[in-house]
């Protein structure tokens, strides 16, 4: 894929967002005035971008009404992010060594491959009912873990297996032991793949957490927020929450790409 870069690219990006917002606004207004409607969709009940914006601003921070504290979107974002990061860290700590072992050693590869292949085909959401019952707490972190760990493992394996054999030979002739080779050749060479795995994994984890929070109950979290707002018929807050989910996911992806570009600058 080729993207326009520089000022022109940015301009097109911004323009597309504006057009999307306008189309959204116009469609809803048309539907509300019975001018145009899409069959089987209650288009008129979708909040307009303007309503969504007000809802977003209005529910950004904790509000207090008499005895009740309604957590702000900021608290929900924070709670969800912390869960994703915790799950992500655990997945990283477990996924990378597993990936290296399985990728480097034929024996470990044969041993673990079937298990990995079977479990990775169970989507994170499929684990939700089980984790409700087996986890006293932290069930949602587990769902994130499941989402993140497999992209990390698979990309690590791929990175390790695609290590240039000449580099391994070079290290051998320079006197490196097996463990040195893993440490100084295999891991660095697999690092870009590992980072890609982390990036893909966190994307999956972010989607999984939102789903998990709808079912595994905790007082805060973006998934919980949009579900609650749906329950109350407060659709503009609900859509605001959905947009926040999307934007944060996007920012997360870009941040890791940036980190990758910044710290792995040796890749051609």
């Amino acid at each position: 894929m080729k993207f326009e870069t520089g000022k022109r690219g940015l301009l097109i990006n911004i323009l597309s967002l504006i057009v999307f917002t306008l189309v959204w606004q116009i469609l809803v207004i048309l539907a509300r005035n019975d001018i145009f409607n899409i069959p089987f969709i209650r288009l008129r009940d979708i909040p307009t971008p303007v309503e969504t914006w007000y809802a977003l601003v209005g529910s950004m921070f904790t509000r207090i009404y008499g005895p009740s504290f309604t957590y702000g979107i900021i608290n929900h974002v924070y709670a969800s992010l912390v869960r994703v990061i915790e799950g992500g860290i655990i997945a990283f700590i477990i996924g990378v060594p597993v990936g290296i072992g399985v990728g480097y050693s034929k024996f470990l590869g044969n041993l673990f491959n079937p298990i990995i292949e079977i479990i990775r085909n169970m989507p994170p959401m499929a684990w939700i009912p089980l984790s409700i019952f087996i986890f006293v707490s932290g069930g949602s972190i587990f769902i994130v873990f499941i989402g993140v760990v497999f992209p990390i493992i698979l990309n690590t394996i791929q990175g390790v297996r695609s290590t240039d054999t000449r580099l391994i030979d070079a290290a051998k002739t320079l006197g490196a032991s097996e463990s040195m080779i893993v440490k100084k050749v295999v891991i660095p060479s697999a690092l870009p793949s590992i980072m890609t795995g982390l990036r893909i994994g966190l994307g999956v984890g972010w989607m999984a957490i939102v789903a998990a929070e709808m079912v595994i109950k905790s007082p805060v979290g973006l998934g919980y927020f949009i579900w609650n707002m749906g329950d109350l018929g407060r659709y503009s807050e609900m859509v605001a929450g959905m947009i926040v989910i999307g934007v944060i996911g996007y920012i997360m992806n870009i941040s890791i790409l940036l980190l990758q570009r910044r710290f792995i600058n040796w890749v051609d």
Binding site: P67, Y78, L81, R234
Partner: protein, 366 residues
């Protein structure tokens, strides 16, 4: 492009830091009670394992948890607010307008309600000849296997058929105080105040007709042409037992009303029944808690066509919810900083819990 990314990166860091500060700050203002939404089954299970310190729920869940020894009743909802309304019978305004004899149908539905409630209140006495039948109905409708729990839960619920405008006004006022209404929608509704809204919501005429005609012979006042009514109710909710009794004992049929269970029914909660059933025009008449009716007739309504407009014609029950707590909890204050299960935002249990916390000066977060 690079700069844009830097800005985005800064934004995420800023959100993160702000979140840290915010989430650190909030609980320190006072230790709130954490309300967490869950199903009734989950409440019982989690109270048993000690993961939650208590829950507020409709019968039969409190009775089941207590019979199992997982906890005890702390406060009956009648103590929070004596004779508070709970479940009601409501009709869809779209259906009402396009059906020419809808008033006649609703009168008869109110009459069934009256008959069923009287039957239940008689049969509740353990020496009544109908008692065993009532216990069977309770267990069937509540999805229970335990006679003791069925008896207990029946005892906690006060079945009524009349409506109460004053109590509805109070409910609306509290819901407004607690910040649950979407204010844009509220302003669109055009109601001057809570009693204005309550008067528009609740109609006493049908119950009055029912009271006047309760001794008439069914065949005499039955509808000439039997009608199909798509009826919705909530899953396993003992509060709506009068509907089940009226259905099972043939009271509806005797008056020319043929009950068809609406698409999607029984619903998990009142919010679903309002948003999917009434708003989607798949329900003609249904029973549900009065708070979802109050909330969604405002929040979920499209005021250009009033698709979520419903009217309340009769009561189902008063009271009947319980705050159940772990055995070591003795007061609401003990729940501070702990997690308490509730069936969801905008349910009657939610509002009642907030009212009780308000009375005691406690904070509740969710």
């Amino acid at each position: 492009m690079k700069n844009l990314m830097k800005i985005l990166f800064l934004i995420i860091v800023a959100i993160f830091v702000a979140g840290c500060l915010e989430s650190k700050k909030t609980p320190q203002v006072s230790e709130p009670i954490n309300l967490v939404k869950m199903s009734g089954q989950e409440m019982i299970q989690r109270l048993g394992t000690g993961e939650i310190a208590g829950f507020i729920m409709w019968e039969p869940y409190p009775a089941i948890a207590v019979t199992k020894g997982y906890g005890k009743n702390l406060i009956f909802s009648g103590k929070i607010w004596t004779d508070h309304p709970c479940c009601v019978v409501a009709y869809d305004d779209d259906w009402y307008k396009k059906t020419n004899n809808s008033d006649e149908i609703l009168k008869r539905m109110a009459l069934v309600q009256l008959k069923s409630v009287e039957y239940i209140n008689n049969a509740k006495q353990s020496d009544s000849p109908d008692h065993e039948q009532l216990i069977n109905y309770t267990m069937q409708f509540g999805g229970m296997t335990d006679q003791v729990a069925a008896n207990l839960s029946l005892a906690d619920v006060e079945f009524v058929y009349n409506t109460n405008v004053t109590a509805t006004t109070t409910f609306i006022q509290r819901i407004q105080d607690f910040g649950i209404f979407d204010m844009t929608k509220w302003n669109m509704s055009g109601y001057k105040n809570s009693s204005d809204y309550a008067n528009s919501l609740v109609t006493n005429n049908y119950v009055e007709w029912a009271v006047n005609n309760k001794d008439e012979n069914s065949s005499k006042i039955a509808l000439k042409e039997p009608v199909n009514i798509r009826y919705a109710y909530l899953v396993n909710d003992i509060h709506e037992l009068p509907f089940y009794v009226g259905w099972q004992k043939g009271y509806y049929r005797d008056l020319g009303i043929n009950i068809v269970i609406a698409e999607g029914a029984p619903f998990q909660n009142g919010a679903f029944e309002m948003q999917q059933g009434f708003k989607g025009n798949t329900v003609d008449v249904g029973s549900l808690g009065i708070p979802p009716v109050i909330i969604h007739r405002i929040n979920s309504n499209d005021f250009s066509n009033n698709d979520t407009k419903v009217g309340v014609i009769a009561g189902m029950n008063n009271e009947g919810s319980v705050i159940v707590v772990a055995n070591n909890v003795t007061s609401m204050k003990d729940l501070q900083g702990k997690t308490v299960g509730f069936p969801g935002q905008g349910t009657i249990q939610h509002v009642l819990f907030l009212m009780e916390a308000d009375k005691e000066g406690l904070k509740v977060s969710y």
